[in-house]
């Protein structure tokens, strides 16, 4: 075995290891860019764990299959100045092809099963949720509280912490979409139709969101802030500010 051959072998063994080390080191840098923003509601957390499972599986597939592709592409390249015989004229392999049809099916069945397992927490609204009305229009959000008032002004929703909130939404004009990423999934908002979504914020703080369905020239300005406050603060807020 020549020296260059040995060096190449060594490189081939080291390359996957290097990728692994790089991935581990890069993990802090990847947080928040490779994953969804920190979820703060049971539905968002459930989606987040489904996301992470799929991310793990797809990145593994990419490293393995992409690695196989890059390895084949480099390993079997013709080098200039050498004569090569024609390679064996293989036309296929039924056994291999059945194999690489069935394995992806099994992987996807597994991912689907995990999705279904996590699904109830995404879709099922807890009992006794606080009902809040949402009216979307070009280009603002109005929130109507259980007492019929909407005290916080447009685009700001004030809710108590650890309380399930059920939103009943409709639009006055075109299609909009309610999306506050840390509090869970998107939901389109239509004229002449009520759509629903829910969340239960488990941490006090402000959560940014915005309209996610293109709705016209002011689309970018149609922001949402969900202010999650303590239950006491919420009661105090409602009694003093509930004026409109």
């Amino acid at each position: 075995m020549t020296r260059t051959h040995r060096r190449r072998r060594w490189f081939l063994a080291a390359a996957p290891l290097g990728v692994l080390v790089a991935l581990t080191l890069a993990q802090p840098a990847l947080a928040g860019t490779a994953t969804l923003n920190q979820p703060e509601s049971p539905n968002a957390q459930s989606i987040d764990s489904t996301y992470r499972a799929v991310l793990g599986v797809t990145v593994t597939i990419f490293v393995l299959v992409g690695g196989w592709l890059v390895y084949s592409a480099i390993r079997f390249r013709e080098r200039p100045g050498r004569e090569y015989p024609d390679p064996p004229q293989v036309r296929g392999s039924t056994r291999l092809e059945i194999g690489w049809t069935i394995v992806p099916i099994l992987i996807l069945v597994g991912l689907s099963a995990f999705t279904f397992y996590k699904l109830p927490k995404v879709e099922d609204v807890p009992k006794g949720a606080m009902q809040i009305g949402v009216t979307a229009q070009q280009y603002s959000w109005t929130f109507t509280y259980p007492n019929g008032k909407h005290p916080a002004g447009p685009n700001t929703l004030v809710v108590p912490v650890d309380t399930p909130i059920h939103l009943n939404m409709h639009s006055k004009d075109v299609v909009h979409d309610f999306w506050v990423e840390q509090l869970g999934q998107k939901q389109d908002v239509f004229p002449n139709r009520i759509t629903h979504t829910w969340f239960q914020a488990d941490k006090i703080g402000n959560y940014d969101g915005q309209c996610a369905e293109f709705c016209g020239s002011g689309h970018a300005t149609m922001t949402i802030v969900v202010r999650v406050v303590s239950k006491e603060d919420y009661l105090r807020y409602m009694s003093t500010k509930a004026t409109t």
């Binding site: 860019t33 969804l36 299959v65 592409a73 293989v90 690489w100 099916i105 689907s112 999306w179 759509t195």
Partner: protein, 542 residues
Amino acid sequence: MATAATPAQAFPAPSGSTLRSWITTVDHKRIGLLYLLVTMFFFLTGGLMALVIRLQLETASGTVVSAETYDQIFTMHGTTMVFLFVVPVMAAFGNYMVPLQIGARDMAFPKLNAASFWLLLFGGLTMYSSFAFGGAPDAGWTGYPPLSIISAGHGIDFWIVGLHILSLSSILGAINFICTIHNMRAPGMRLTRMPLFTWCIDFYSIMIVAALPVLSGALTMLLLDRNYGTHFFTANGGNPILYQHFFWFFGHPEVYVVALPGFGMISEILPVFSRKPIFGYKALVYSIAAIAFLGFLVWGHHMFAVGFSTPVDIWFMIASLAIAVSTGVKIFNWIGTLWMGRIRYEPPMLFAVGFILLFMIGGLSGVFLAIFSIDLQVTDSYFVVAHFHYVMGSIPVFAVMGGLHYWYPKMTGRMLNRSLGIWSFWVLFVGFNMTFFPMHAMGLSGMPRRISSYPQHPGWERMNEIATLGSFVISLGVLLIVYNCLTSLRNGRVAGDDPWRANTLEWYTSSPPPAHNFDSLPPIRSERPLADLRAEAAEAAG
């Protein structure tokens, strides 16, 4: 050589290279070149608009153009790239190559073929004339009502009429391809021996015929809603969601309309430059057929945020994942073709291998969008923009450019400059990933698509700066290709009939082929007639 008059000769077009001869041509090769010229022009136009989009988003305040102009630009960017570039550019190569690959004299209906081309040009011009008549369409390339109904001015009307003309162009072209492929194959060219690119154009055409009329119907209803007081999709009395069903019933098959011919090009290039037959020819044809069928069953995955009942969500999720399996089969078969091959890295091969890698990223990010709970977080965000550019963008920029480098010698008789080709591949590969990979992260951190500014999120600026820089790197790569194509017309090395030692019939005739395509045809006993010829010659030589 005296031959019986064929239909095309019964109406002879003037030959030579006068302008009149090009305008009146019914030769499939010339029409293919006209298609290529016009689609490349629209590609550059759509690319310029992409640069405006990227400049606008480079800073959080977005001050390059107004929000209104921005809406028109991203609408026209999407519409141009989909309807005036990626779909018709496949017709460019299909027109030029399909009759040659099956050993035919021309397309089945040469004059209809010319009509398809001119409709494409006039459809494009109709849509673009909106800029001169009070403003371009501004409701996105998807044109969702009620927004597209209440949109002021006539931009949307130009969009609808333009798309009608383009649909007609595509449908007529597709019928022509189907008739040609199923009726005009040379003796011995059984379906099971057809080149994979021709197979892909066959399924491309079948999908166009099945999907585009649905779009045309929906657009007609939209036009009536806008101008004649009907209520198909209006907020009061109509159903805006119905439009989304129609649109995506067309729109998702459209993705495969674009993807299949790209797959076909890759499946032509890989065996030639690996010196091996394609791995699993039949499995590839079956998976193409499966994709063409399943493509019609998955449209709802574009609409999860509408709020379906759970069983409907589950159906669209399972059907979408099934497509991932048949796409996976292709990728494995392509790598199987490389395995143990003797790979020669000419530019077409670099583009092909690069395409597989990028398409894998697009395919895997598609799994996130098929799983509806995850989709509800990432849909309508930049994650989707990243995903569809890794799919719909990697096909034209890598598969089609691979095809262009592969077939340019056949079309012009000249080779493209090799080192310039290699340079343009690497520049495009780096630029493409710089532009679109960070968009996954933008979407995950909450950036919705189609916003013209994001002043409340200065944290998104860094990722956007990288993407903007990348888009200029892509532009450089595209300019290199354009420069290469133009200068090689004169300066390129003379190609000869078969510079790549290829397998399929188009390489049997001269480069460029004569108007009648073939003086004679070799016996066709497999999907690689020219490889068979070489093997016979080698045997005869001992």
